[in-house]
Protein backbone atom coordinates (compact mmCIF):
# COMPACT_ATOMS: atom_id res chain seq x y z
CA UNK A 1 0.00 0.00 0.00
CA UNK A 2 1.22 3.49 -0.78
CA UNK A 3 1.90 5.71 2.15
CA UNK A 4 1.08 8.76 0.10
CA UNK A 5 -2.48 7.64 -0.20
CA UNK A 6 -3.22 8.35 3.43
CA UNK A 7 -6.87 9.04 2.97
CA UNK A 8 -7.62 5.52 1.89
CA UNK A 9 -6.14 4.13 5.07
CA UNK A 10 -7.72 6.27 7.69
CA UNK A 11 -11.33 6.32 8.65
CA UNK A 12 -12.09 9.52 10.55
CA UNK A 13 -15.20 9.43 12.70
CA UNK A 14 -15.81 13.12 13.37
CA UNK A 15 -15.42 16.31 11.34
CA UNK A 16 -14.81 14.08 8.39
CA UNK A 17 -14.16 16.79 5.82
CA UNK A 18 -11.71 18.49 8.11
CA UNK A 19 -9.75 15.30 8.78
CA UNK A 20 -9.64 14.39 5.12
CA UNK A 21 -8.43 17.81 4.10
CA UNK A 22 -5.56 17.86 6.59
CA UNK A 23 -4.29 14.48 5.35
CA UNK A 24 -4.66 15.73 1.81
CA UNK A 25 -2.74 18.84 2.68
CA UNK A 26 0.04 16.80 4.29
CA UNK A 27 0.22 14.77 1.14
CA UNK A 28 0.50 17.89 -0.99
CA UNK A 29 3.28 19.56 0.99
CA UNK A 30 6.36 19.85 -1.23
CA UNK A 31 4.78 17.48 -3.68
CA UNK A 32 6.98 14.93 -5.40
CA UNK A 33 6.07 12.37 -8.00
CA UNK A 34 8.08 9.50 -6.56
CA UNK A 35 6.68 6.02 -6.34
CA UNK A 36 6.89 5.34 -2.66
CA UNK A 37 6.43 1.61 -2.83
CA UNK A 38 9.59 1.03 -4.82
CA UNK A 39 11.44 3.67 -2.88
CA UNK A 40 10.41 2.24 0.43
CA UNK A 41 10.41 -1.55 0.30
CA UNK A 42 10.64 -1.92 4.07
CA UNK A 43 7.59 0.26 4.56
CA UNK A 44 9.50 2.56 6.91
CA UNK A 45 7.14 5.46 6.35
CA UNK A 46 4.27 6.19 8.59
CA UNK A 47 1.90 8.97 9.53
CA UNK A 48 2.00 9.93 13.15
CA UNK A 49 -0.76 11.95 14.75
CA UNK A 50 0.52 13.82 17.76
CA UNK A 51 -2.01 15.61 19.87
CA UNK A 52 -4.30 17.41 20.34
CA UNK A 53 -4.33 15.79 23.75
CA UNK A 54 -0.63 14.98 23.94
CA UNK A 55 0.91 16.16 27.23
CA UNK A 56 4.10 17.40 25.57
CA UNK A 57 2.39 19.61 23.03
CA UNK A 58 1.71 22.32 25.62
CA UNK A 59 -2.00 22.55 25.09
CA UNK A 60 -4.26 21.45 22.30
CA UNK A 61 -1.81 21.47 19.44
CA UNK A 62 -2.09 18.71 16.87
CA UNK A 63 0.80 17.72 14.66
CA UNK A 64 0.48 15.36 11.75
CA UNK A 65 3.93 14.03 10.99
CA UNK A 66 5.04 11.93 8.09
CA UNK A 67 7.93 9.85 9.30
CA UNK A 68 10.52 7.87 7.46
CA UNK A 69 12.08 5.69 10.07
CA UNK A 70 12.84 8.13 12.83
CA UNK A 71 13.14 11.21 10.64
CA UNK A 72 10.31 13.61 10.08
CA UNK A 73 9.82 14.06 6.36
CA UNK A 74 7.13 16.66 6.60
CA UNK A 75 4.74 18.15 9.09
CA UNK A 76 1.41 19.86 9.14
CA UNK A 77 -0.03 21.57 12.18
CA UNK A 78 -3.67 21.60 13.01
CA UNK A 79 -4.68 24.38 15.35
CA UNK A 80 -8.00 25.85 16.38
CA UNK A 81 -8.99 23.37 19.07
CA UNK A 82 -9.12 26.25 21.55
CA UNK A 83 -10.75 28.76 19.22
CA UNK A 84 -13.23 30.81 21.18
CA UNK A 85 -13.62 33.72 18.80
CA UNK A 86 -12.40 36.41 21.17
CA UNK A 87 -12.28 38.96 18.36
CA UNK A 88 -15.98 38.41 17.76
CA UNK A 89 -16.63 38.64 21.48
CA UNK A 90 -14.66 41.89 21.60
CA UNK A 91 -16.93 43.47 19.01
CA UNK A 92 -19.86 42.95 21.35
CA UNK A 93 -18.25 44.22 24.54
CA UNK A 94 -17.00 47.54 25.77
CA UNK A 95 -13.24 47.91 25.93
CA UNK A 96 -13.13 47.48 29.67
CA UNK A 97 -15.43 44.46 29.58
CA UNK A 98 -13.10 42.78 27.14
CA UNK A 99 -10.16 43.03 29.56
CA UNK A 100 -10.73 39.70 31.39
CA UNK A 101 -10.77 37.89 28.04
CA UNK A 102 -7.23 39.05 27.33
CA UNK A 103 -6.08 37.29 30.50
CA UNK A 104 -7.24 34.05 28.99
CA UNK A 105 -5.40 34.54 25.71
CA UNK A 106 -1.81 34.06 26.80
CA UNK A 107 -2.69 32.61 30.16
CA UNK A 108 0.97 32.26 31.13
CA UNK A 109 1.55 36.00 31.18
CA UNK A 110 -1.85 37.65 31.69
CA UNK A 111 -0.39 40.95 32.77
CA UNK A 112 1.27 41.66 29.41
CA UNK A 113 -1.99 40.99 27.63
CA UNK A 114 -3.91 43.43 29.83
CA UNK A 115 -1.30 46.10 29.25
CA UNK A 116 -1.34 45.48 25.50
CA UNK A 117 -5.08 46.09 25.28
CA UNK A 118 -4.92 49.12 27.60
CA UNK A 119 -2.13 50.74 25.62
CA UNK A 120 -3.96 50.26 22.33
CA UNK A 121 -7.19 51.73 23.70
CA UNK A 122 -5.29 54.57 25.32
CA UNK A 123 -3.58 55.28 22.02
CA UNK A 124 -6.81 55.41 20.01
CA UNK A 125 -8.73 57.42 22.63
CA UNK A 126 -5.77 59.67 23.61
CA UNK A 127 -5.87 58.82 27.29
CA UNK A 128 -3.09 60.11 29.50
CA UNK A 129 -1.73 57.64 32.03
CA UNK A 130 0.02 58.85 35.20
CA UNK A 131 3.70 57.98 35.55
CA UNK A 132 3.28 55.83 38.62
CA UNK A 133 0.76 53.61 36.84
CA UNK A 134 3.14 53.17 33.94
CA UNK A 135 5.90 52.00 36.25
CA UNK A 136 3.53 49.60 38.01
CA UNK A 137 2.55 48.20 34.61
CA UNK A 138 6.17 47.72 33.67
CA UNK A 139 6.84 45.82 36.88
CA UNK A 140 3.80 43.64 36.21
CA UNK A 141 4.85 42.99 32.61
CA UNK A 142 8.37 42.02 33.54
CA UNK A 143 7.17 39.74 36.33
CA UNK A 144 4.83 38.16 33.79
CA UNK A 145 7.76 37.70 31.44
CA UNK A 146 9.77 35.94 34.13
CA UNK A 147 6.79 33.80 35.06
CA UNK A 148 6.20 32.80 31.44
CA UNK A 149 9.86 32.04 30.82
CA UNK A 150 9.97 29.98 34.02
CA UNK A 151 7.19 27.78 32.74
CA UNK A 152 8.97 27.47 29.41
CA UNK A 153 12.21 26.58 31.16
CA UNK A 154 10.65 23.97 33.40
CA UNK A 155 8.67 22.23 30.71
CA UNK A 156 11.37 22.47 28.05
CA UNK A 157 13.96 20.93 30.34
CA UNK A 158 11.40 18.33 31.34
CA UNK A 159 10.80 17.57 27.65
CA UNK A 160 14.54 17.05 27.39
CA UNK A 161 14.42 14.55 30.22
CA UNK A 162 15.01 16.32 33.55
CA UNK A 163 11.92 16.13 35.71
CA UNK A 164 13.10 17.68 38.97
CA UNK A 165 13.99 20.92 37.23
CA UNK A 166 10.32 21.53 36.61
CA UNK A 167 9.67 21.57 40.35
CA UNK A 168 12.39 24.16 40.95
CA UNK A 169 11.12 26.59 38.34
CA UNK A 170 7.59 26.15 39.63
CA UNK A 171 8.76 27.03 43.12
CA UNK A 172 9.88 30.41 41.76
CA UNK A 173 6.67 30.77 39.71
CA UNK A 174 4.73 30.26 42.90
CA UNK A 175 6.50 33.29 44.36
CA UNK A 176 5.42 35.36 41.36
CA UNK A 177 1.84 34.19 41.88
CA UNK A 178 2.09 35.39 45.46
CA UNK A 179 3.37 38.74 44.25
CA UNK A 180 0.52 39.01 41.74
CA UNK A 181 -1.87 38.18 44.56
CA UNK A 182 -0.47 41.11 46.53
CA UNK A 183 -0.47 43.49 43.55
CA UNK A 184 -3.80 42.66 41.97
CA UNK A 185 -5.74 40.45 44.34
CA UNK A 186 -5.63 37.53 41.91
CA UNK A 187 -2.93 34.95 41.46
CA UNK A 188 -3.42 33.87 37.88
CA UNK A 189 -5.75 35.94 35.68
CA UNK A 190 -4.94 39.29 37.16
CA UNK A 191 -6.84 41.93 35.09
CA UNK A 192 -4.96 44.54 37.06
CA UNK A 193 -4.27 47.08 34.35
CA UNK A 194 -7.20 49.38 33.57
CA UNK A 195 -7.79 51.79 30.75
CA UNK A 196 -6.26 55.01 32.04
CA UNK A 197 -4.14 53.43 34.75
CA UNK A 198 -4.15 50.43 37.03
CA UNK A 199 -6.78 49.06 39.40
CA UNK A 200 -4.95 49.74 42.65
CA UNK A 201 -1.66 51.02 43.93
CA UNK A 202 1.26 48.86 45.02
CA UNK A 203 0.93 48.19 48.73
CA UNK A 204 4.02 48.27 50.92
CA UNK A 205 3.72 44.51 51.35
CA UNK A 206 3.72 44.06 47.59
CA UNK A 207 6.79 46.28 47.17
CA UNK A 208 8.52 44.35 49.93
CA UNK A 209 7.97 40.94 48.38
CA UNK A 210 8.91 42.19 44.90
CA UNK A 211 12.15 43.51 46.39
CA UNK A 212 12.76 40.22 48.13
CA UNK A 213 12.09 38.31 44.92
CA UNK A 214 14.47 40.38 42.81
CA UNK A 215 17.28 40.02 45.32
CA UNK A 216 16.92 36.25 45.61
CA UNK A 217 16.00 35.32 42.04
CA UNK A 218 19.37 36.10 40.36
CA UNK A 219 21.00 33.47 42.55
CA UNK A 220 18.46 30.88 41.37
CA UNK A 221 19.15 31.86 37.77
CA UNK A 222 22.85 31.44 38.41
CA UNK A 223 22.27 27.97 39.84
CA UNK A 224 20.25 26.97 36.81
CA UNK A 225 22.92 28.31 34.49
CA UNK A 226 25.41 26.23 36.45
CA UNK A 227 23.31 23.13 36.01
CA UNK A 228 22.41 23.50 32.34
CA UNK A 229 25.00 25.63 30.52
CA UNK A 230 27.59 22.89 30.33
CA UNK A 231 25.31 19.94 30.87
CA UNK A 232 26.19 17.42 28.21
CA UNK A 233 22.79 15.76 28.01
CA UNK A 234 21.04 19.09 27.78
CA UNK A 235 23.37 20.41 25.08
CA UNK A 236 23.19 17.19 23.07
CA UNK A 237 19.42 17.40 23.12
CA UNK A 238 19.28 21.06 22.11
CA UNK A 239 22.25 21.95 19.98
CA UNK A 240 21.49 22.07 16.25
CA UNK A 241 17.95 21.01 16.91
CA UNK A 242 15.09 22.93 15.31
CA UNK A 243 17.39 25.34 13.54
CA UNK A 244 15.82 28.48 12.09
CA UNK A 245 18.42 30.07 9.82
CA UNK A 246 18.95 33.81 10.03
CA UNK A 247 18.06 34.45 6.41
CA UNK A 248 14.77 32.58 6.74
CA UNK A 249 13.68 33.94 10.10
CA UNK A 250 12.23 37.21 8.85
CA UNK A 251 10.57 35.72 5.81
CA UNK A 252 8.70 33.11 7.79
CA UNK A 253 7.59 35.71 10.32
CA UNK A 254 9.20 34.55 13.52
CA UNK A 255 8.85 36.82 16.50
CA UNK A 256 10.08 37.26 20.04
CA UNK A 257 12.81 35.03 21.46
CA UNK A 258 12.62 32.74 18.40
CA UNK A 259 13.53 35.65 16.12
CA UNK A 260 16.15 36.98 18.50
CA UNK A 261 17.79 33.57 18.75
CA UNK A 262 18.19 33.74 14.97
CA UNK A 263 20.08 36.99 15.12
CA UNK A 264 17.61 39.86 14.85
CA UNK A 265 17.41 42.26 17.78
CA UNK A 266 13.74 43.02 17.16
CA UNK A 267 12.09 44.09 20.38
CA UNK A 268 9.02 46.33 20.58
CA UNK A 269 10.31 47.80 23.82
CA UNK A 270 13.13 49.35 21.77
CA UNK A 271 11.31 49.98 18.48
CA UNK A 272 8.30 51.77 19.90
CA UNK A 273 9.09 52.40 23.57
CA UNK A 274 5.75 52.31 25.34
CA UNK A 275 5.18 53.10 29.03
CA UNK A 276 8.56 54.14 30.38
CA UNK A 277 10.78 51.66 28.62
CA UNK A 278 12.79 54.55 27.17
CA UNK A 279 13.79 55.57 30.67
CA UNK A 280 15.22 52.27 31.86
CA UNK A 281 18.38 50.58 30.70
CA UNK A 282 18.32 47.04 29.42
CA UNK A 283 19.89 44.88 26.77
CA UNK A 284 18.16 42.88 24.06
CA UNK A 285 19.93 39.51 24.10
CA UNK A 286 20.44 37.87 20.72
CA UNK A 287 22.17 34.75 19.42
CA UNK A 288 23.11 33.77 15.91
CA UNK A 289 22.73 29.99 15.91
CA UNK A 290 18.94 29.87 15.69
CA UNK A 291 18.73 26.45 17.33
CA UNK A 292 16.99 25.41 20.50
CA UNK A 293 20.07 26.05 22.62
CA UNK A 294 20.22 29.63 21.35
CA UNK A 295 16.58 30.12 22.35
CA UNK A 296 17.46 28.82 25.80
CA UNK A 297 20.27 31.36 26.21
CA UNK A 298 18.13 34.22 24.89
CA UNK A 299 15.30 33.52 27.33
CA UNK A 300 17.66 33.05 30.27
CA UNK A 301 19.28 36.41 29.52
CA UNK A 302 15.87 38.03 29.16
CA UNK A 303 14.95 36.97 32.67
CA UNK A 304 18.11 38.62 33.93
CA UNK A 305 17.26 41.82 32.05
CA UNK A 306 13.73 41.72 33.45
CA UNK A 307 15.13 41.72 36.96
CA UNK A 308 17.23 44.74 36.02
CA UNK A 309 14.16 46.55 34.65
CA UNK A 310 12.11 45.82 37.78
CA UNK A 311 14.95 47.09 39.96
CA UNK A 312 15.11 50.35 37.99
CA UNK A 313 11.33 50.74 38.04
CA UNK A 314 11.22 50.40 41.82
CA UNK A 315 13.97 53.01 42.13
CA UNK A 316 12.43 55.48 39.69
CA UNK A 317 8.79 55.08 40.54
CA UNK A 318 7.38 58.47 41.54
CA UNK A 319 4.57 59.01 44.01
CA UNK A 320 1.26 60.14 42.63
CA UNK A 321 -2.07 59.04 41.22
CA UNK A 322 -2.42 55.63 39.60
CA UNK A 323 -5.31 56.40 37.30
CA UNK A 324 -6.31 59.17 34.95
CA UNK A 325 -8.40 61.80 36.70
CA UNK A 326 -10.57 62.42 33.64
CA UNK A 327 -13.99 60.86 34.25
CA UNK A 328 -14.47 60.32 30.50
CA UNK A 329 -11.31 58.25 30.31
CA UNK A 330 -11.12 56.04 33.37
CA UNK A 331 -13.11 54.65 36.22
CA UNK A 332 -13.26 56.88 39.30
CA UNK A 333 -11.75 55.51 42.48
CA UNK A 334 -13.96 53.51 44.80
CA UNK A 335 -13.87 56.33 47.38
CA UNK A 336 -15.49 58.68 44.91
CA UNK A 337 -18.06 56.09 43.87
CA UNK A 338 -19.16 55.39 47.42
CA UNK A 339 -19.14 58.93 48.78
CA UNK A 340 -20.09 61.25 45.92
CA UNK A 341 -23.04 61.34 43.58
CA UNK A 342 -20.91 62.45 40.65
CA UNK A 343 -18.47 59.60 41.14
CA UNK A 344 -21.31 57.14 41.10
CA UNK A 345 -22.72 58.56 37.86
CA UNK A 346 -19.29 58.38 36.24
CA UNK A 347 -18.85 54.82 37.39
CA UNK A 348 -22.22 53.93 35.92
CA UNK A 349 -21.42 55.67 32.64
CA UNK A 350 -18.08 53.90 32.34
CA UNK A 351 -19.71 50.54 32.90
CA UNK A 352 -22.67 51.22 30.64
CA UNK A 353 -21.12 53.06 27.69
CA UNK A 354 -17.44 52.88 28.41
CA UNK A 355 -14.78 54.84 26.69
CA UNK A 356 -15.66 56.06 23.18
CA UNK A 357 -12.77 56.69 20.78
CA UNK A 358 -13.52 59.05 17.85
CA UNK A 359 -15.51 57.54 14.99
CA UNK A 360 -13.42 56.12 12.18
CA UNK A 361 -10.20 56.18 14.19
CA UNK A 362 -7.82 53.27 13.75
CA UNK A 363 -4.70 52.34 15.63
CA UNK A 364 -2.25 49.55 16.12
CA UNK A 365 -0.15 49.16 19.19
CA UNK A 366 2.28 46.38 19.85
CA UNK A 367 4.00 45.38 23.06
CA UNK A 368 6.76 42.89 23.57
CA UNK A 369 5.02 40.07 25.40
CA UNK A 370 7.13 37.14 26.64
CA UNK A 371 6.34 35.24 23.43
CA UNK A 372 7.01 38.12 21.06
CA UNK A 373 5.21 40.99 19.42
CA UNK A 374 1.65 41.18 20.73
CA UNK A 375 -0.28 43.80 18.81
CA UNK A 376 -3.81 45.11 19.02
CA UNK A 377 -5.39 46.74 16.01
CA UNK A 378 -8.53 48.64 16.92
CA UNK A 379 -11.00 50.30 14.59
CA UNK A 380 -13.63 52.42 16.24
CA UNK A 381 -17.05 53.45 14.98
CA UNK A 382 -17.45 56.06 17.70
CA UNK A 383 -19.44 53.91 20.11
CA UNK A 384 -18.25 52.18 23.25
CA UNK A 385 -17.82 48.93 21.37
CA UNK A 386 -14.94 48.44 18.96
CA UNK A 387 -15.91 47.93 15.33
CA UNK A 388 -12.99 45.59 14.87
CA UNK A 389 -10.25 44.32 17.14
CA UNK A 390 -7.52 42.26 15.58
CA UNK A 391 -5.07 40.63 17.92
CA UNK A 392 -1.71 39.87 16.40
CA UNK A 393 -0.52 37.04 18.57
CA UNK A 394 3.09 35.87 18.70
CA UNK A 395 2.31 32.19 19.31
CA UNK A 396 0.31 31.99 16.09
CA UNK A 397 3.26 33.24 14.11
CA UNK A 398 5.79 31.09 15.91
CA UNK A 399 3.68 28.00 15.27
CA UNK A 400 3.94 28.73 11.57
CA UNK A 401 7.69 28.70 12.10
CA UNK A 402 7.37 25.37 13.89
CA UNK A 403 5.60 23.84 10.92
CA UNK A 404 8.61 24.71 8.81
CA UNK A 405 11.52 23.91 11.12
CA UNK A 406 10.30 20.44 12.06
CA UNK A 407 10.86 19.03 8.58
CA UNK A 408 14.02 16.93 8.67
CA UNK A 409 14.28 16.66 12.44
CA UNK A 410 14.20 13.43 14.42
CA UNK A 411 10.81 12.47 15.80
CA UNK A 412 12.24 12.28 19.32
CA UNK A 413 13.20 15.95 19.08
CA UNK A 414 9.68 17.08 18.24
CA UNK A 415 8.69 17.75 21.83
CA UNK A 416 11.95 19.58 22.52
CA UNK A 417 11.44 21.82 19.49
CA UNK A 418 7.85 22.54 20.51
CA UNK A 419 9.16 23.35 23.97
CA UNK A 420 11.79 25.67 22.51
CA UNK A 421 9.31 27.57 20.36
CA UNK A 422 7.08 27.88 23.43
CA UNK A 423 3.60 28.31 21.95
CA UNK A 424 0.51 28.98 24.04
CA UNK A 425 -2.55 27.65 22.34
CA UNK A 426 -4.94 30.02 24.10
CA UNK A 427 -3.22 32.81 22.27
CA UNK A 428 -2.61 31.11 18.94
CA UNK A 429 -6.21 29.92 18.63
CA UNK A 430 -7.78 33.12 19.93
Amino acid sequence: MKVTDINSRVNPQFQVKHQRSIYKSLEDKHTTIEDVDIDDPLNAKMILNMGPQHPATHGVLRLVLQLRGETIEKTKLDIGYLHRGVEKIAENKTYQEFMPYTDRMDYLSPYSNNVALCLAVEKIASVEVPDRAQYIRMIGCELARISSHLLWLGTMVMDAGAISFFIWTFREREKIYDIMDQIAGHRFTVSHSRIGGVANDLTSEASAIIKEFITKFPQELKDWHGLLDRNRIFIDRNENVGVLETDKALDIGATGPVLRASGFAVDQRIITPYSKYDEVEFEVPTRLEGDNLARYFVRMEEMKESIRIIQQCLDKMPKGPIRSNNAKHAYPSKDEVYYSMEGMIHDFMMTDTGICPPAGAECYHAVESPKGELGYYIQSDGTGHPWRIKINTPSFRNLQVLENILDGEMVADTVVVIGGVDPVMGEADK
Binding site: S25, R397, L399
Partner: protein, 170 residues
Protein backbone atom coordinates in the same frame (compact mmCIF):
# COMPACT_ATOMS: atom_id res chain seq x y z
CA UNK B 1 -5.57 66.63 6.67
CA UNK B 2 -1.84 67.13 6.56
CA UNK B 3 0.39 64.13 6.98
CA UNK B 4 3.32 63.86 9.32
CA UNK B 5 5.57 61.41 7.55
CA UNK B 6 9.07 60.48 8.58
CA UNK B 7 11.79 59.96 5.96
CA UNK B 8 11.03 56.28 5.35
CA UNK B 9 7.33 56.86 4.91
CA UNK B 10 7.96 59.90 2.72
CA UNK B 11 10.20 57.79 0.48
CA UNK B 12 7.55 55.10 0.45
CA UNK B 13 4.75 57.45 -0.54
CA UNK B 14 6.92 59.18 -3.16
CA UNK B 15 8.01 55.83 -4.57
CA UNK B 16 4.45 54.53 -4.73
CA UNK B 17 3.20 57.73 -6.33
CA UNK B 18 5.90 57.49 -8.97
CA UNK B 19 5.74 53.78 -9.75
CA UNK B 20 2.07 53.00 -9.14
CA UNK B 21 0.45 56.38 -9.72
CA UNK B 22 -2.82 54.88 -10.97
CA UNK B 23 -2.96 52.21 -8.27
CA UNK B 24 -2.52 54.38 -5.20
CA UNK B 25 -5.88 55.47 -3.82
CA UNK B 26 -5.16 57.30 -0.60
CA UNK B 27 -2.68 57.80 2.20
CA UNK B 28 -3.97 58.77 5.61
CA UNK B 29 -2.96 58.74 9.23
CA UNK B 30 -4.92 57.88 12.32
CA UNK B 31 -3.64 57.88 15.90
CA UNK B 32 -0.08 58.10 14.63
CA UNK B 33 -0.27 55.08 12.30
CA UNK B 34 0.01 55.44 8.54
CA UNK B 35 -2.40 53.65 6.22
CA UNK B 36 -1.97 53.37 2.46
CA UNK B 37 -4.90 52.18 0.39
CA UNK B 38 -4.18 50.68 -3.02
CA UNK B 39 -6.09 48.92 -5.78
CA UNK B 40 -6.77 45.26 -5.00
CA UNK B 41 -5.57 43.94 -8.36
CA UNK B 42 -2.06 45.33 -7.89
CA UNK B 43 -1.37 44.03 -4.39
CA UNK B 44 1.18 41.45 -5.52
CA UNK B 45 3.25 43.91 -7.58
CA UNK B 46 3.13 46.49 -4.81
CA UNK B 47 4.16 43.89 -2.23
CA UNK B 48 7.16 42.92 -4.34
CA UNK B 49 8.06 46.56 -4.82
CA UNK B 50 7.78 47.28 -1.08
CA UNK B 51 9.90 44.32 -0.14
CA UNK B 52 12.62 44.75 -2.75
CA UNK B 53 12.83 48.51 -3.22
CA UNK B 54 11.60 49.92 0.08
CA UNK B 55 13.00 47.25 2.41
CA UNK B 56 9.69 46.40 4.05
CA UNK B 57 10.98 42.88 4.68
CA UNK B 58 8.95 41.97 7.73
CA UNK B 59 5.28 41.11 7.39
CA UNK B 60 3.82 41.37 10.88
CA UNK B 61 0.23 40.54 10.17
CA UNK B 62 -2.52 40.24 7.59
CA UNK B 63 -6.09 40.67 8.71
CA UNK B 64 -9.52 41.20 7.35
CA UNK B 65 -12.16 43.73 8.22
CA UNK B 66 -15.86 43.68 7.45
CA UNK B 67 -16.93 47.22 6.53
CA UNK B 68 -20.56 46.11 6.17
CA UNK B 69 -21.19 48.38 3.19
CA UNK B 70 -22.81 47.58 -0.11
CA UNK B 71 -19.75 48.16 -2.27
CA UNK B 72 -16.23 46.90 -1.52
CA UNK B 73 -17.38 45.27 1.65
CA UNK B 74 -14.24 43.50 2.82
CA UNK B 75 -10.95 45.08 3.58
CA UNK B 76 -7.65 43.22 3.92
CA UNK B 77 -4.86 44.98 5.77
CA UNK B 78 -1.17 44.13 5.53
CA UNK B 79 0.91 45.19 8.50
CA UNK B 80 4.47 45.74 7.29
CA UNK B 81 7.63 46.79 8.96
CA UNK B 82 10.87 48.25 7.71
CA UNK B 83 13.48 46.93 10.11
CA UNK B 84 16.22 49.27 8.94
CA UNK B 85 14.38 52.36 10.11
CA UNK B 86 11.89 50.49 12.30
CA UNK B 87 8.89 52.05 10.62
CA UNK B 88 5.50 50.47 10.35
CA UNK B 89 3.03 50.94 7.54
CA UNK B 90 -0.39 49.45 6.81
CA UNK B 91 -1.36 48.60 3.25
CA UNK B 92 -5.08 48.23 2.66
CA UNK B 93 -7.05 46.76 -0.18
CA UNK B 94 -10.80 46.41 -0.55
CA UNK B 95 -12.72 43.61 -2.23
CA UNK B 96 -16.33 43.10 -3.23
CA UNK B 97 -18.85 41.12 -1.22
CA UNK B 98 -19.64 38.74 -4.07
CA UNK B 99 -16.90 36.15 -4.42
CA UNK B 100 -14.09 38.14 -2.77
CA UNK B 101 -10.72 37.14 -4.22
CA UNK B 102 -7.23 38.52 -3.85
CA UNK B 103 -3.81 37.55 -5.07
CA UNK B 104 -1.84 35.79 -2.32
CA UNK B 105 1.36 37.50 -1.18
CA UNK B 106 2.81 34.35 0.35
CA UNK B 107 5.29 34.17 -2.52
CA UNK B 108 6.70 37.50 -1.33
CA UNK B 109 6.54 36.95 2.41
CA UNK B 110 6.21 33.34 3.43
CA UNK B 111 4.75 34.53 6.71
CA UNK B 112 1.54 35.49 4.93
CA UNK B 113 0.58 31.81 4.58
CA UNK B 114 -1.19 31.29 7.86
CA UNK B 115 -2.46 34.84 8.12
CA UNK B 116 -4.21 34.56 4.77
CA UNK B 117 -5.70 31.27 5.86
CA UNK B 118 -7.08 33.09 8.87
CA UNK B 119 -8.60 35.82 6.70
CA UNK B 120 -10.18 33.16 4.53
CA UNK B 121 -11.47 31.28 7.54
CA UNK B 122 -12.97 34.33 9.23
CA UNK B 123 -14.19 36.41 6.27
CA UNK B 124 -14.31 34.13 3.28
CA UNK B 125 -11.85 36.14 1.20
CA UNK B 126 -10.15 33.66 -1.11
CA UNK B 127 -6.48 34.00 -2.00
CA UNK B 128 -5.31 32.92 -5.42
CA UNK B 129 -2.05 31.00 -5.75
CA UNK B 130 -1.96 30.32 -2.03
CA UNK B 131 0.04 27.13 -1.35
CA UNK B 132 -2.42 25.67 1.15
CA UNK B 133 -5.67 27.58 1.47
CA UNK B 134 -7.63 25.71 4.10
CA UNK B 135 -9.54 26.94 7.11
CA UNK B 136 -7.25 27.41 10.06
CA UNK B 137 -9.33 27.66 13.23
CA UNK B 138 -12.69 26.27 12.22
CA UNK B 139 -13.03 22.73 10.86
CA UNK B 140 -13.43 22.27 7.11
CA UNK B 141 -17.00 21.08 7.68
CA UNK B 142 -18.00 24.51 8.97
CA UNK B 143 -20.10 26.39 6.45
CA UNK B 144 -19.98 29.97 7.69
CA UNK B 145 -17.48 32.78 8.02
CA UNK B 146 -17.75 33.76 11.67
CA UNK B 147 -16.18 37.22 11.67
CA UNK B 148 -18.65 38.58 9.16
CA UNK B 149 -20.95 41.01 10.86
CA UNK B 150 -24.15 39.12 10.07
CA UNK B 151 -22.90 35.98 11.83
CA UNK B 152 -24.76 35.72 15.16
CA UNK B 153 -23.21 35.22 18.57
CA UNK B 154 -25.70 32.45 19.36
CA UNK B 155 -27.97 30.26 17.34
CA UNK B 156 -25.89 28.89 14.51
CA UNK B 157 -27.76 26.18 12.58
CA UNK B 158 -26.25 22.79 13.34
CA UNK B 159 -24.57 24.05 16.48
CA UNK B 160 -25.33 22.96 20.04
CA UNK B 161 -28.86 23.43 21.22
CA UNK B 162 -29.67 26.79 22.79
CA UNK B 163 -30.66 26.92 26.45
CA UNK B 164 -34.36 27.04 27.10
CA UNK B 165 -35.50 30.63 27.57
CA UNK B 166 -38.94 29.94 29.03
CA UNK B 167 -39.15 28.96 32.71
CA UNK B 168 -39.73 25.27 33.47
CA UNK B 169 -42.71 25.92 35.68
CA UNK B 170 -45.99 27.02 34.13
Amino acid sequence: MSLELNDTLQTLVDGLTETFSDKLIEVYQSSGDTFVRVEADSILEISKYLKEKQHFVFLCDVFGNDRYTSDERFEVVYNLMNLRTQTRVFIKVRVEEENPTLESVSSVWKAAGWNEREVYDMFGVRFENHPDLRRIFMPEDFEYFPMRKEFPLLGIPGSIELPNTTPDTE
